[in-house]
């Protein structure tokens, strides 16, 4: 049987069930006959129980958080469709726009792209515009050089802006022009991969009032979108009907925020 010194060295491990059988028996035997060590044991055990109970009693409603996580991860699984993950884009690869800007992007995977009934009007307009533009590459109003795109963006945003040259690791900016979605003007940027998949980014000017600095949620066409911070990017996603919206935002001080939204339109 252990003495008091040995027992007190092992009380923590004994409480945590981390002792081997022999040591457990010897510690228990000592505690059985030593009131002083038993008090020590009870003190630590009580402290553990109090701490555990205190923390477990602090319950949090995680329903909204769970929904947000599910939408960003397995949410798409429930549509029984090909599943995709938009990986977090590094801030360095993101555009920095010095004014308050909202960017709505339609990422339309070529084979999965069809119009969807009941889709959010803005999403549907973005999707239709994307489809139309893909078939209209030869139009004269497209600008294709980096310099021309920068100039067009600065003109559209009425200030100097850096437009993202890449989305993720494989979508590269190829051309841009100004278009209208639901009567509102947007800068339409098209990105292509080496295997000819296209993605559209629709950049629109947005009132600063729509997303005050520090605001954690935004509302886009009446749909609340929960934002969460992932390193220096806010990342969120939500599934609305058959549209999956993935949004990232970069907060820079008090006034500059970029929203980069990717809309994956899921065939009905």
């Amino acid at each position: 049987m252990y003495d008091c010194q040995k027992t007190r060295e092992l009380i923590g491990l004994y409480l945590d069930n981390e002792l081997e059988a022999t040591s457990t028996q010897q510690t228990a035997a000592h505690l059985e006959q030593c009131a002083s060590c038993r008090r020590e044991f009870e003190t630590i055990r009580s402290q553990n129980e109090l701490l555990s109970r205190s923390i477990k009693n602090s319950t949090y409603d995680t329903q909204a958080l769970r929904a947000s996580i599910e939408a960003a991860t397995i949410g798409r699984h429930r549509s029984h469709l090909p599943l995709w993950t938009l990986e977090r884009t590094r801030a360095g690869a993101m555009a920095f726009v010095s004014a308050f800007v909202i960017v709505i992007a339609a990422l339309l995977y070529l084979y999965g792209f069809i119009g969807a009934s009941g889709a959010n009007p803005l999403y549907r307009a973005a999707a239709e515009n994307h489809r139309a533009c893909i078939a209209d590459y030869a139009a004269p109003d497209w600008v294709r050089s980096q310099t021309d795109i920068d100039e067009l963006a600065a003109s559209f945003l009425e200030q100097k802006a850096r437009i993202p040259l890449m989305i993720g690791s494989d979508y590269r900016l190829t051309h841009a022009r100004v278009c209208r979605l639901n009567g509102e003007r947007f800068l339409h940027l098209i990105y292509e991969t080496s295997d000819r998949r296209e993605a559209s980014l629709f950049v629109g000017r947005w009132s600063r009032d729509h997303l005050p600095a520090g605001e954690r949620s935004i509302s886009l066409d009446g749909h609340a979108i929960q934002l969460t911070l992932a390193s220096d990017l806010h990342v969120t996603s939500t599934q609305i009907g058959n549209n999956l919206l993935i949004a990232t935002a970069h907060g820079d001080g008090e006034s500059t925020t970029i929203l980069l939204s990717a809309i994956v339109q899921i065939p009905a």
Binding site: E42, I44, N48, L50, T73, H77, T85, T228
Partner: protein, 179 residues
């Protein structure tokens, strides 16, 4: 930019990873100090877990893996701010000076707990609250088991010292023990 996961991998994510959301949230809230910050780090934890989900091996310890990601996220963020500076003796006195005499309430324990170092809080959360084995906690913390044991021992001593100074023997009363 995109990657494709199998249907089974998605089911596994829900079955093995999302079930730990409440535990992660509970730990994050205590380590981050606010619900908002906790939600941020938990969501980032799951996004990172999702990103590397294809590397997850069924049968391995998903909970410890998730906690490890969580701690890394928190450490990265806290590193971007100020280092976690342990309190000095005088700080403990200042904390405890205003506590009423008598039985320790849960909120008081939490207040004292929140003043432990991040490492101490993390190991207590894992072993005492989540009832992880030392081995599992070691995986979650990314440290050897010996480090888990030493941190845990110091954390318990520190917690007891801080609680006991203001409320001698009252810890026991709080949980209804005989002594």
């Amino acid at each position: 930019m995109f990657r494709r996961l199998s249907r089974q991998q998605h089911l596994d994510f829900e079955t093995h990873a999302l079930v730990h959301l409440d535990a992660l949230m509970r730990a994050a809230a205590r380590l981050c100090g606010s619900r908002e910050a906790a939600e941020d780090v938990v969501q980032e934890t799951y996004l990172q877990a999702w990103k590397y989900w294809r590397t997850f091996q069924p049968g391995t310890n998903c909970r410890a893996w998730l906690f490890r990601i969580l701690f890394n996220v928190i450490k990265k963020r806290s590193g971007e701010k100020n280092a976690d500076v342990p309190l000095e003796e005088s700080d403990y006195e200042n904390i405890l000076r205003f506590e009423p005499a008598g039985q320790i309430e849960e909120c008081e324990v939490l207040e004292v707990f929140d003043h432990l170092t991040e490492d101490q809080r993390a190991v207590l959360l894992l072993v005492v609250v989540e009832e992880m084995s030392y081995k599992e906690a070691a995986v979650a913390l990314g440290v050897p088991i010996g480090t888990v044991m030493s941190r845990l021992s110091r954390a318990r001593v520190q917690l007891r010292r801080m609680l006991g100074r203001a409320h001698p023997r009252s810890i026991i009363k709080a949980v209804g023990a005989k002594y």
